[in-house]
């Protein structure tokens, strides 16, 4: 089953990307609202610029999922001490650093279109940045801490996860366009909703594929290392 799982998910994700590109760019309407009485534009009418939303939000949700998964996997690792949980946490964080970079980049582009600044210290942007910093710190620790890297990293993931509600409270009130289905998307009806959920599902599957592959490669790496050590002990290798 494992041999088939990754290729099948890859194909599903590939089809998902094509479908979501079609839905986002050809099917979903442009984002604007016209007041029926005055015949003028109302609210934040972003037109084509709004399309980035369909890639920004799924990635942002992945960032939160990643912090939670890494935190829980790290708790299980400290508890059970089975390396697979450590691998899972490390893989999730590795992948979500890339996803987080996408979130920050697309968020910046959106901010330029909607608020006319590249960066605003606005709650959800701030929060994404702070979460991303924890994840980057985690990757650095794993890379440079040497023998105790796994424990330090696990601690960081757990403390980071517990810190999320505090970061959320700290950043306070927001002027961000409402996330998910309540904001722009809901007002524009089914076409936008379909585009959003297709894109979300695609990114979720893509995320899972990447994490599974990463876990497998880490495991293969470790097995190779152990094999090498055993061979060295037996004198088979020089």
């Amino acid at each position: 089953m494992n041999k088939l799982l990754v290729p099948v998910l890859c194909v599903v994700a590939a089809i998902g990307f094509l479908v979501s590109i079609y839905l986002v760019f050809y099917n979903a309407p442009l984002d604007y609202t016209i007041d029926p009485e005055t015949q003028r534009l109302v609210g934040t009418s972003l037109f084509f610029n709004q399309k980035i939303y369909f890639f920004h939000v799924p990635n942002a949700i992945m960032l939160f999922v990643a912090v939670t998964v890494a935190g829980c996997a790290s708790i299980l690792y400290l508890w059970k001490r089975t390396p697979v949980w450590d691998d899972l946490a490390a893989a999730t964080v590795d992948i979500s650093v890339a996803f987080g970079a996408v979130v920050l980049a697309t968020g910046s582009i959106w901010a330029k279109a909607a608020w006319d600044v590249w960066w605003q210290w606005e709650p959800r942007l701030t929060m994404s940045l702070l979460l991303w910093l924890i994840l980057v710190g985690y990757v650095l620790v794993r890379k440079f801490a040497g023998p105790s890297a796994d424990r330090v990293a696990a601690g960081m993931a757990i403390f980071g996860m517990v810190g999320v509600p505090f970061i959320y409270t700290m950043v306070g009130q927001d002027s961000h366009p409402a996330a998910g289905t309540k904001g722009v998307v809901a007002t524009q009806g089914h076409a936008m909703l379909a585009a959003f959920w297709t894109s979300f599902a695609t990114f979720l599957i893509w995320f899972i594929v990447l994490v599974i592959t990463r876990v497998q490669s880490t495991r293969a790496e470790r097995e190779l290392r152990e094999l090498r050590e055993r061979a060295l002990d037996l004198g088979v290798l020089e």
């Binding site: 400290l78 910093l133 801490a145 105790s148 330090v152 960081m156 517990v162």
Partner: protein, 224 residues
């Protein structure tokens, strides 16, 4: 458990009282920071009111990190951390003792830095001494608790000096932000006590949550 914790804290503090190594160097470093601030930032009253909270908490962050690294280096040099962990007391006492000693040290440095900020920058830091003391105390406690967990875990790690802030600052960011906002409310031209109290309670809840978490994970993090 608490009795042992206080004994371990007392041991650390007694070493410190005799050698004065960490306190003297940290206090001097903190004073140097204040001198740098007074040249680096514009020196008029409105600007000072705006930037003094940041200066205070950046000083606490910097001096605290170095103090943490040095305090745990002491245990590493003679491999006494292993002895402490093997001692017939609960491991939580070891952690609590370390955290208490660190909190006292960080507070000690703050006691030097705050008057210097008030003196050299003419900052109105003593307008609400009680609120300021409580917020700095809670900040030092939170930093000592989380810092002790990671300094102890990083004890055997390579390049632990650079990694300690890399690990600590992302996790401590809410604490520093809350502390800065609290101090900002206290030194503003129109002091905002309501905001200050809100951030003090934020710090309290933050400390409580991470104290519980630290007690819970400390043992499994430091044991190999």
């Amino acid at each position: 458990m608490l009795r042992h914790a206080f004994r371990i804290a007392w041991k650390d503090l007694r070493i410190e009282v005799r050698s004065k190594e960490i306190f003297m160097t940290m206090a001097f470093f903190g004073a140097l920071l204040v001198v740098i601030y007074s040249f680096a930032f514009p020196n008029d009253q409105t600007a000072i009111r705006g930037s003094v909270p940041g200066m205070l908490w950046v000083s606490i962050a910097f001096t605290g990190t170095i103090a943490l690294g040095r305090a745990f280096d002491r245990e590493r040099e003679n491999d006494t951390m292993r002895a402490l962990l093997l001692a017939p007391v609960p491991r939580l006492s070891v952690f609590l003792g370390k955290a208490i000693a660190m909190a006292v040290l960080i507070l000690g440095v703050a006691v030097v830095v705050v008057p210097l900020l008030a003196l050299w920058l003419n900052a109105p830091l003593f307008a609400y001494p009680l609120e300021l003391a409580v917020s700095v105390g809670l900040g030092a406690l939170g930093m000592a608790v989380i810092g002790s967990v990671f300094a102890a875990t990083l004890l055997k790690a390579r390049s632990r000096d650079v990694l300690l802030p890399v690990v600590l600052y992302p996790i401590l960011l809410p604490l520093f932000v809350a502390g800065t906002k609290c101090t900002a409310g206290l030194v503003a031209e129109h002091p905002n006590l309501e905001a200050a109290h809100y951030w003090i309670s934020f710090l309290g809840i933050y400390d409580a949550a991470f104290l519980v978490l630290s007690l819970w994970v400390f043992e499994s993090l430091v044991i190999e």
